[in-house]
């Protein structure tokens, strides 16, 4: 097991090196060159010269790359143009918000998606089934940011039962220990703060979770359809096992493999979706910060965030692969 993990991690290295080369070349090919990219478009020629000197942009490109990689390995991702703070710090303060949002989105998607997909397959061709197919089709075709608009309009403006934006009511006097606002409220016993932060997560969470929900419903449905008529399920039924046992231990467990893969694949989608959802809900996470970085041409932030996200993305997919072997012992052998 450890050897498999080690091997996968080793395979990740060339990909990340390749990505770092691409990102390095990317900043050097930006309009106006790297110094302008770092200073912003209003930079004076003297300032550009000073930055070129300071960062060694006049040096040969190969040695520049190694300097850049050296810094990356020490966790130095540069400084944000817009805020003047280190990129890694900016990431660390905003990441918890996005994680909370993603967790809510995934709970929504998995919590509804798997049961709905299962029920649709069990009642194949009936109303529930058709409903689930239509629903998942809509989920895929409605753009995340449009769905966010609809939710915001309905539940924050028309019937204001949930907050329209932000991560927490600014009037809330909350203590922040971990920057996970819901967790902070629980840890410090400030239940009202936790509840308020949670309410702020509901609408963006649903908006973000809808595409994964649609995909999970389809995959679960297809997978259960394939498994539920298998010989071993018929045998289990013939043995007179309880329907609950058949469902949990025979159908669902075998049908879950493709579903788990799919959930792993949603991570990229969730990060892309977070940029859009957080923008609509003015939610202070990495997504909105990235969007501001795009607008403010904050290249160090874009560069750093992309590398960090790529690493996370790869690690999460690795975890998903490992979780297969827990669900399916047959995979453990290889």
């Amino acid at each position: 097991m450890l050897r498999v993990i080690g091997k996968r991690l080793a395979l990740l290295v060339p990909t990340l090196i390749g990505l770092s080369i691409l990102l390095f070349l990317w900043v050097r090919n930006l309009p106006g060159g790297p110094a302008t990219a770092l200073l912003g478009e209003r930079a004076t020629p003297e300032a550009v010269e000073r930055v070129n000197e300071l960062y060694g942009f006049n040096e040969p490109i190969i040695s520049q790359y190694f300097t850049y990689m050296g810094k990356l390995l020490q966790g130095d991702f540069g400084t944000s143009i817009n805020t003047g703070r280190p990129v890694l710090e900016e990431f660390a303060t905003r990441f918890p918000g996005t994680v909370e949002l993603t967790i809510v989105a995934l709970i929504f998607a998995i919590g509804i998606g798997i049961p709905l997909g299962y029920v649709a397959a069990r009642y194949y061709g009936r109303f529930v089934d058709h409903g689930s197919v239509v629903l998942s089709l809509l989920g895929i075709t409605v753009p995340v940011f449009f769905l966010a608009f609809i939710l915001k309009y309905l539940f924050a403006i028309q019937w204001p039962i949930l907050p329209p934006d932000g991560r927490q009511d600014p009037r809330m006097d909350a203590t922040h220990v971990t920057d996970f606002y819901v967790l902070d409220g629980i840890l410090t016993g400030e239940w009202d703060a936790a509840w308020d932060a949670f309410q702020h997560l509901i609408l963006p969470g649903i908006a973000l979770g809808t595409i994964p929900l649609a995909i999970i419903v389809r995959i679960t449905r297809a997978s259960v359809l394939e498994v539920q008529n298998a010989d071993y399920v018929r045998t289990a039924r013939a043995k007179g096992l309880m329907e609950k046992t058949i469902r949990n231990r025979f159908i669902l467990r075998n049908a879950m493999l493709p579903v788990v893969t799919t959930i792993g694949l949603q991570v990229g989608l969730l990060i892309s979706g977070a940029v859009l959802t957080e923008t609509v809900f003015a939610f202070n996470g990495i997504g909105r910060f990235l969007r501001d970085a795009i607008f403010g041409l904050d290249y160090p932030v874009l560069q750093g965030f992309i590398i960090i996200i790529a690493i996370l993305y790869a690690v999460i997919n690795l975890i998903v692969d490992i979780s297969y072997s827990i669900i399916d012992p047959r995979v453990r052998v290889s």
Binding site: P14, T15, L16, G18, L19, L22, L23, W26, N29, L30, P31, L137, L138, I140, T141, V142, P143, V144, F145, F146, F149, I150, K152, Y153, I157, V267, G268, L269, I271, S272, V275, L276, T279, V280, L290, R291, I294, F295, L297, Y299, L302, I306, I309, A310, Y313, A314
Partner: protein
């Protein structure tokens, strides 16, 4: 083994099932015509195409014209039906909402089709090289594809747009490049799965050259999934194009008729003029729905598992 005379009982004349003997694509098309899902998709896409092409005739005003500039005030934007000349009302800048939706169809279709074509061509070249040549070419190309896939799609598109500068061409190229890895992988995988087939072995035995086998046997038989994916990708491309212009990468003037951009500027108006967000949003969703329906029924009709009827 061919049956010969006097070789046991004479074989009964095989009954040729209806539709067999026709080509894969012809057969698929025949099944598509019977599929209500495909027809619905085709109607949606057809209408959308028609509106896009006939935009100059259909739209009462030009795409970035602001005919109602004098009718709007900071606190009041006339809504649908309030002024006869503007059936769906005006937007924040004084543009006619109906005209902008119609011109927006043209912009979205153009970006969707061009970017998918770019992605398809780029991905097929890479996939063909990887799947056809194999060896180190395959390794190098697939590692490159892995790198592109290690960045979430929208972020990749955004990064590419950042180099190219803002504007519709940047958006097209950005979305196109971000689709390359999917097509490349798909074509390669499909070619690899065909490689061991009997007809390839037969072609090799006949002494056909490797390039002939790849181009006239392997490629035509592997391209099905890629075509299906391209149809589905058109939906994603329309949504992604809207997302990029929603984020502000579309370039041009704020009043330019583009669905995604219309949503950006509808944000501040959501409470009083929700139609400014809802109508372009519905247009994006319906267009994407059309391409998705078409793509999925195409997949079904090409899939040997579901090809019963």
């Amino acid at each position: 083994m061919p049956p010969s005379a006097g070789d046991g009982p004479t074989p009964t004349e095989p009954t040729i099932p209806d539709g067999a003997g026709t080509g894969l694509w012809k057969d698929a098309f025949r099944r598509l015509k019977r599929n209500p899902q495909a027809i619905a998709g085709a109607i949606i896409v057809g209408l959308f195409l028609l509106v896009a092409i006939l935009a100059p005739v259909l739209a009462p005003f030009g795409g970035d014209e602001l005919p109602g500039r004098t009718e709007i005030t900071p606190t009041n934007i006339p809504g649908p039906g309030e002024i006869d000349a503007y059936p769906l009302g005006l937007d924040r800048f004084g543009g006619d909402l109906l005209s902008k939706l119609i011109w927006g169809a043209q912009a979205s279709l153009l970006i969707g089709v061009v970017s998918t074509a770019l992605g398809l061509v780029g991905g097929m070249i890479l996939g063909l090289l990887a799947g056809g040549l194999g060896g180190w070419v395959d390794s190098v190309i697939m590692r490159f594809v892995d790198i592109l896939l290690s960045v979430p799609n929208l972020l990749l598109a955004v990064s590419i747009a950042a180099i190219l500068g803002q504007g519709p061409y940047a958006v097209m190229i950005a979305i196109g490049v971000s689709q390359v890895p999917i097509f490349a992988r798909l074509l390669r995988a499909s070619m690899l799965s065909q490689r061991g087939s009997d007809y390839i072995l037969a072609a090799q035995t006949l002494g056909l050259s490797r390039s002939t086998i790849t181009m006239s046997h392997l490629l035509p038989n592997s391209v099905g999934p890629v075509i299906v994916q391209a149809t589905l990708t058109l939906a994603t491309a329309v949504i992604d194009a809207a997302a990029l212009s929603f984020l502000g990468l579309g370039g041009g003037r704020p009043q330019t008729a583009e669905w995604g951009r219309m949503l950006t500027y509808a944000q501040a108006e959501l409470a009083n003029s929700p139609q400014l967000a809802f109508l372009p949003g519905i247009c994006i969703a319906v267009t994407a729905l059309g391409f998705t329906l078409l793509g999925e029924s195409l997949r079904e009709s090409l899939d040997p598992k579901t090809r019963k009827k």
